[in-house]
């Protein structure tokens, strides 16, 4: 079977992640959507790595995981800071900046 199918799977996961960012009010869930998008990119990288017969794609996916972990730490820290201030993690609620 052609590994290209995995790339198509990656595209689907990417879209679902994006949809989660658009649809979910809970900041943590939306953020999980972003993580899913990053994972989808990783899947595509690994699949292409297999297709091209070289390791570079895997290395990249490895880096992305590290970066994503760091990003998660910062993102959750921000979410906690917001929660402490407002007692909510809804993305809709803080909307004083607009216009």
């Amino acid at each position: 079977m052609n590994p290209m199918n995995y790339v198509i799977l990656a595209a689907i996961l990417f879209s679902i992640g994006a949809a989660a960012v658009l649809l979910r009010r809970n900041a943590i869930v939306a953020f999980m959507g972003v993580e899913l998008m990053l994972n989808a990119a990783n899947l595509a990288l690994v699949a292409f790595s297999r297709i091209h017969g070289e390791l570079d794609g895997q290395i990249m996916a490895f880096f992305v995981m590290v970066v994503a972990a760091a990003e998660v730490v910062v993102g959750l820290a921000i979410i906690i800071a917001v929660f402490r201030a407002r007692q909510t993690i809804s993305l809709d609620e803080p909307a004083e900046l607009k216009g």
Partner: protein, 524 residues
């Protein structure tokens, strides 16, 4: 398989190593220096020293450079004159912003303790205990280092890492305002979610390009595209997603929506830094991607550049017209400027490579100066102390009478944004537009000229407000004008620079003209 030690030209990387190393050293300072006041002094000295040293190294490298530049590591990073120019610009922005970060007027830009809830007892206790959030200095250094890296990296994945290296500190810095902390938190949350969203888009683009070309080195992508039989949809989609990632950072429509909110909510010192430096770094990276990696796709991608440029100029201008908050107005002006930057991308490579650094230098200096002025105009708190910044436009009425130098500098920055001659902004626009005209993009330039004419209106509205309108009765007492030494230094230095670059631009333009060749390394 055996391990061979890679050859790395560390010397060429020295400016970045100095800055990132100083950032790491700053963290150690946090651990070992206990008194907040001393810690602040040490951190500031360390940061300034690192930035100046790095700038010195860059000047030395520039002088010593014989050809186009140095390949630090084949396929990963290239330090050519173009990169050195951008790094120098970023370091200047970093130096100026660091002074703003350190400024203590109005109690300083940053909260005493980020972990406290706004208005809580802990916040008051932290204030009483005289705490200071000195972590901002190393964070800013990491941001500057990441941006510098961003300008010289030639690998798409390395670019992704560099992007995050400078983005993460920025997300954090945005959340640390001392006043209006709810807004600051909101801005950080929005900036973060959207930033992560856009970097995911970028990354997926990288994956697609990697799939289409089997490489991620920008130089080799260029060669690989030429060798591809026909326009590969995979490649095109990937290229678009990558460019969209950069356009997000530049703040171009429709990827701009974080800009006004983040600019308004962030501490003003951070807004100044972010407004000037992020745009410059992203432009620098876009230069390499557009003119090296995707140069063969120029025709296909020109639609993207044109459409986004027009949308940014028009939308930024039109919405800035109706803003009532100064920081937001400047943010939308930044969106319009993103459009002007993209106009240069529609031009010839050689011209654009001279025009863009100059444009960003001019824009960045004026941005830092303008936000520095914003940080000086404060509301007076009920107890007579100095409160948050007075950002409503109406509060600026009559500023010209009370503080002519401050208002005069602001007027100069605004005129520079508007592109009035004798200011750096004019030369920047002129260079950018003539690059585009040389590339045959005159319809785009026509729209740009019209947009900048309309845009001039809201800049001038503020000037009129400052100089030609009197403050309403009794309003004068509610506004306090700060006189922070560090901030004033920044304001006057940037004002002088904007004037000098407007009247005698040839020196700097010559330097950038020397830098208008991208070193393309193929191999490895």
């Amino acid at each position: 398989m055996s391990f061979t030690t890679p050859t790395i030209d560390w010397a060429a990387f020295a400016p970045i190593i100095i800055v990132l190393g100083a950032g790491a050293a700053g963290i150690l300072v946090e651990a070992f220096v206990k008194t907040p006041a001393t810690r602040r002094t040490v951190q500031l000295a360390l940061s300034l020293a690192a930035l100046v040293a790095s700038l010195g190294v860059i000047i030395a490298q520039w002088a010593a450079l014989d050809g186009a530049g140095t390949v630090v590591m084949s396929g990963m990073a290239t330090v050519d004159r173009q990169a050195l120019a951008w790094m120098a610009i970023l370091l200047v922005f970093g130096l100026l912003s660091m002074l703003l970060f350190a400024s203590r007027d109005g109690g300083g830009a940053f909260t005493e303790l980020g972990a406290t809830a706004p208005g809580s007892v802990e916040e008051k206790l932290a204030r009483r205990a005289g705490l200071q959030l000195t972590e901002v200095y190393p964070l800013a250094l990491f941001a500057v280092g990441g941006m510098m890296l961003f300008t010289c990296v030639t690998d798409l994945v390395f670019l992704f890492v560099a992007l995050e290296v400078f983005s993460l500190p920025l997300y954090l810095l945005v959340a640390l305002a001392r006043r209006r902390r709810y807004l600051s938190h909101e801005a950080a949350l929005k900036y973060f979610i959207l930033g992560a969203f856009s970097s995911a888009i970028y990354l997926f683009g990288v994956a697609l390009v990697y799939g289409a070309t089997t490489v991620t080195d920008v130089n080799m992508i260029g060669t690989a595209i030429v060798n591809l039989a026909d326009a590969d949809p995979l490649l095109l989609a990937g290229a678009v997603m990558i460019i969209v990632g950069f356009m997000f950072k530049i703040g171009a429509v429709p990827f701009h929506s974080w800009v006004p909110d983040a600019y308004q909510g962030a501490p003003t010192a951070v807004t100044a830094f972010m407004g000037a430096a992020t745009k410059a770094a992203a432009t620098a990276a876009l230069v390499r991607v557009m003119f090296v990696a995707f140069a063969p796709l120029e025709w296909e991608l020109s639609w993207l550049v044109w459409a986004v440029a027009i949308a940014s100029m028009v939308y930024g201008t039109v919405v800035a017209l109706v803003q009532t908050d100064i920081k937001r107005m400047l943010a939308y002006s930044g969106v319009a400027h993103a459009g002007f930057i993209l106009v240069a991308f529609a031009g010839l490579e050689g011209e654009a490579l001279t025009a863009l650094p100059f444009y960003l230098l001019a824009y960045g200096l004026a941005t830092i100066g303008a936000f520095a002025v914003v940080s000086q105009v404060r509301e007076r708190a009920e107890d007579g102390g100095v409160g948050a910044e007075a950002v409503r436009l109406g509060q600026w009425a009559g500023l010209g009478k009370r503080s002519p130098l401050l208002a005069g500098s602001m007027a100069l920055f605004l005129l520079s944004f508007a592109g009035i001659p004798m200011t750096a902004g004019f030369i920047g626009k002129f260079e950018a537009f003539s690059a585009a005209i040389a590339g045959g993009a005159w319809p785009l330039v026509l729209i740009a000229v019209l947009a900048s004419a309309v845009a001039a209106f809201f800049y001038v509205r503020l000037i009129v407000l400052m100089f030609f309108t009197d403050a309403p009765e009794g309003a004068e007492e509610t506004i306090a004008i700060e006189d922070g030494a560090l901030t004033r230094v920044v304001i006057y230095v940037t004002a002088a620079a904007v004037l000098v670059l407007g009247i005698l631009p040839s020196g700097v333009l010559n330097l950038f003209a020397d830098a208008s060749v991208l070193l393309v390394s193929v191999g490895g």
